[in-house]
């Protein structure tokens, strides 16, 4: 009833090509953005539920925004250009460590410590350069073969940042700490400020990515994804299209890596960017929906929150079993309940439920949450009188 595009006439090409052609979508997006930029910080300042506690901002929203940014980068490569990559963790690491080097200054070439904003962007740029290098095999290798080839990047850079002490400024423990986060003279310290910083980055890059994939280059990527030989015959240069996808994707992933290290972790080790991170990003992209910017956000939210939720919920769910066993005096039942709430079993249960949910979602909706959202919108347009 509310969601109708009837009467919204497009009088110009610009209006027709708008990112959100339907007015209700625009209003919805602006409402969400306004809430995220103004509402959440205000609620956090005045301690209003649910944003009153620091935990939600620091441990859920901040990593969500940064990983969603990374997922956008991965989605450009996998979802839009069809080049499967399992090396995203490595590109995050490259972004993080080169930003660290720029942020603390490179004495060998007389480079003074750069301000963090510049360091983060330069980190992304380094990541893009390496991305182009590791994208070269994609000109000959396709599909899952390419996925394994990108694992070479993952393992190689894991090793580089662990063994080459220059990258960690010869820190004896191998763990490094981010420089002071001073943006244009303003020090970012509290969770609210960090959240706003991550939100700004995520918004700007999401807009950038959305516009890139709508433009000529994005259409080239999609043509390559759908059938590269046909695209080549139509005059799209695979060399240029594939490598540009690698560059843009690794740039965004690198920036996300730098943010992850600087803003979220503060101090980190190479382990933070292992193969598990790559798989996590891949899950976000697939569960969220390949070839969708919105999907990156939905997937990131799901994959990030599900384990946290399970971790909190399982002991709570097992508590009644324990209580029931105690009240009835059934020894075995309370034993069972106690067993199920031990940390070890909860970890295993998390694995099992997470894995089964992934399989379930893939079976039910192989195109991810983005497709579900599109279907919901279709239904909403006809609601409440479908024909």
């Amino acid at each position: 009833m509310l969601y109708r595009e009837t009467g919204q006439f497009k009088a110009s090409y610009v209006e027709d090509m708008a990112i959100l052609p339907i007015r209700q979508d625009r209003i919805g997006l602006f409402a969400i953005l306004a809430f995220a930029f103004v509402g959440v910080p205000l609620m956090a300042t005045f301690q209003i539920w649910p944003f009153g506690s620091e935990y939600l901002l620091r441990a859920i929203l901040l990593p969500f925004l940064i990983l969603a940014l990374a997922a956008i980068g991965v989605n450009i490569l996998i979802g839009y250009c069809g080049q499967i990559s399992l090396g995203s963790g490595a590109f995050m690491a490259i972004g993080a460590y080169s930003a660290y080097k720029f942020g603390t200054g490179i004495g060998e070439i007389g480079l003074p410590p750069l301000p963090p904003i510049l360091a983060i962007l330069l980190g992304g740029l380094c990541s893009a350069l390496v991305g182009i290098l590791f994208g070269i095999p994609s000109l000959r290798i396709k599909g899952l073969y390419l996925a394994v080839a990108t694992l070479a990047a993952q393992f190689f850079f894991d090793w580089v940042f662990l063994r080459v002490k220059w990258f960690t400024n010869y820190a004896p423990s191998g763990s490094v700490s981010a420089p002071e986060l001073r943006f244009f003279g303003y020090l970012v310290e509290t969770p609210i400020e960090k959240y706003l910083l991550a939100l700004t980055f995520a918004t700007v890059f999401a807009l950038l990515a959305k516009n890139l994939v709508r433009g000529a280059i994005g259409r080239q990527w999609m043509a390559i994804r759908d059938m590269d030989i046909a695209a080549e015959l139509m005059g799209i240069r695979p060399f240029y299209a594939k490598l540009s996808a690698f560059a843009v994707s690794s740039f965004i992933v690198g920036v996300a890596g730098a943010l992850w290290a600087f803003v979220y972790l503060g101090s980190w080790e190479p382990l933070a960017f292992s193969i598990d991170r790559s798989l996590q990003l891949l899950f976000m992209v697939i569960i969220g929906g390949l070839g969708s910017i919105l999907g990156a956000f939905l997937g990131a939210a799901f994959i990030l929150i599900l384990p946290i939720f399970l971790n909190q919920a399982l002991p709570v769910l097992a508590a009644p079993v324990l209580g029931l066993g105690d009240t009835l005096g059934w020894h075995w039942l309370s034993e069972f309940g106690r067993h199920m709430t031990s940390t070890e079993v909860v970890t295993h249960l998390e694995f099992i439920i997470f894995g089964s949910l992934i399989c379930f979602l893939l079976i039910k909706e192989p195109h991810g949450f983005a497709r579900l959202w599109a279907l919901a919108k279709e239904k909403l347009r006809l609601w409440p009188f479908p024909y």
Partner: protein, 361 residues
């Protein structure tokens, strides 16, 4: 002067490869990549030859050790190849299947021995139990994961096997426990060869030799199974073309069950060898990641490729670790296999033994 001959050999070999691959070059990028790889190969081979001449005993020891260790990688890679051939599924869960098989075996064996059965009988029962567990795993995966995902693209199937990996890892550890369980099925002591030829002889681990023997037996019996049994022929038919096989009356879902079961048995065999080497523990699942470059080098669809790929990876990474590792910081075993696989892919996208990929519009 002494370095001229080894590097000459390296250059000659690299040049030979370069000439042999002339038909694969289609663009300037290919050309430059090939030239770069040929230079690296020439230097690498030359360098290794120098080392081999300087200390032939040590070189041979590392080479043999590496080759035998590589066979153990092949054991894991074999399971991948079987499933990929028959169903086009890139099965990330192979490592988890090794863990499941190993845990089932070792826990049942311990239980049987503890309850007073003679070791041989206990082993037979435990093996049967492990096979039953793998059959159950195969049924569940085939029925509840793969069949609903029929005709989805490779990436979705791949992700679903990662999901299955999580489930298998969690379930196996919850049911069977998550400690390190030692398994003693094969001798693990060292063995010295050719002591009269080289000073100190060549040290070979007996377990590695056993691993090689078992891999050999496994490959021969798999080949016989594929070649001479009815199910084996049906398997090959399915591998060639699903739809055509189905249209002549081959029951696809039965075939897939068989393939996953065979892959499970291969995983069990791998678990016996790796379990003796490391003990059955969670880290055994990372073998899946070690097996991937083996697959790439050998080709996803080739059983002999898995063996040859394993040999190349095993020997390559041990030699590189020994001779290059000390120059650039050690631990290069961690990535060497992958970089090697990347180099092979740049030259032959289908791997050494893989079927040529033909693309049509």
């Amino acid at each position: 002067m002494t370095a001229v001959i080894p590097y000459g050999i390296g250059t000659a070999l690299a040049a030979l490869m370069f000439v042999l691959l002339r038909k694969d070059r289609k663009s300037v990028v290919d050309m430059s990549v090939h030239i770069a790889l040929a230079i690296v190969a020439a230097i690498f081979i030359g360098f290794l030859t120098v080392q081999a001449i300087a200390n032939p005993g040590g070189f041979l020891e590392i080479l043999i050790g590496g080759l035998l260790a590589g066979v153990l990688y092949s054991l894991v890679a074999l399971g991948f190849v079987l499933i990929f051939k028959a169903s086009g599924v890139f099965n990330y869960a192979q490592g988890a299947m090794v863990l499941v098989a190993g845990l089932a075996l070792v826990r049942c064996l311990d239980f049987m021995v503890a309850s007073g059965l003679p070791f041989a009988l206990a082993l037979v029962i435990a093996l049967a139990f492990a096979v039953a567990v793998m059959a159950l795993t195969a049924t569940v995966i085939e029925k509840h994961v793969l069949r609903p995902l029929l005709n989805q693209d490779g990436l979705t199937l791949f992700m679903s096997t990662i999901g299955a990996t999580f489930v298998l890892e969690g379930l196996a550890q919850m049911v069977f426990g998550s400690d390190v369980y030692p398994l003693r099925l094969f001798p693990t002591d060292a063995w010295f060869l050719m002591e009269n030829l080289f000073q100190g002889g060549i040290l070979v681990n007996k377990l590695d030799v056993w691993g090689g023997l078992i891999a050999g037996i496994l490959v021969v019996s798999l080949a016989a199974f594929f070649q001479y049994t009815k199910t084996g022929r049906a398997l090959r038919a399915v591998a060639d073309d699903h739809a055509a096989a189905q249209s002549v009356g081959i029951p696809i879902s039965w075939i897939w069950f068989v393939v996953w079961l065979v892959a499970g048995i291969v995983a069990l065999v791998a678990a016996t060898v790796w379990g003796t080497k490391l003990g059955i523990q969670f880290s055994i699942t990372f073998l899946a990641l070690k097996a991937l470059p083996v697959l790439i080098i050998g080709g996803f669809t080739s059983v002999p490729g898995a063996i040859v790929g394993g040999l190349i990876v095993g020997a390559g990474e041990k030699l590189a670790e020994r001779y290059l590792g000390e120059m650039i910081g050690g631990g290069i075993e961690y990535w060497f296999a992958y970089v090697l696989a990347l180099a092979v892919l740049l030259v032959r996208p289908q791997g050494i033994f893989g079927e040529k990929i033909i693309e049509r519009i």
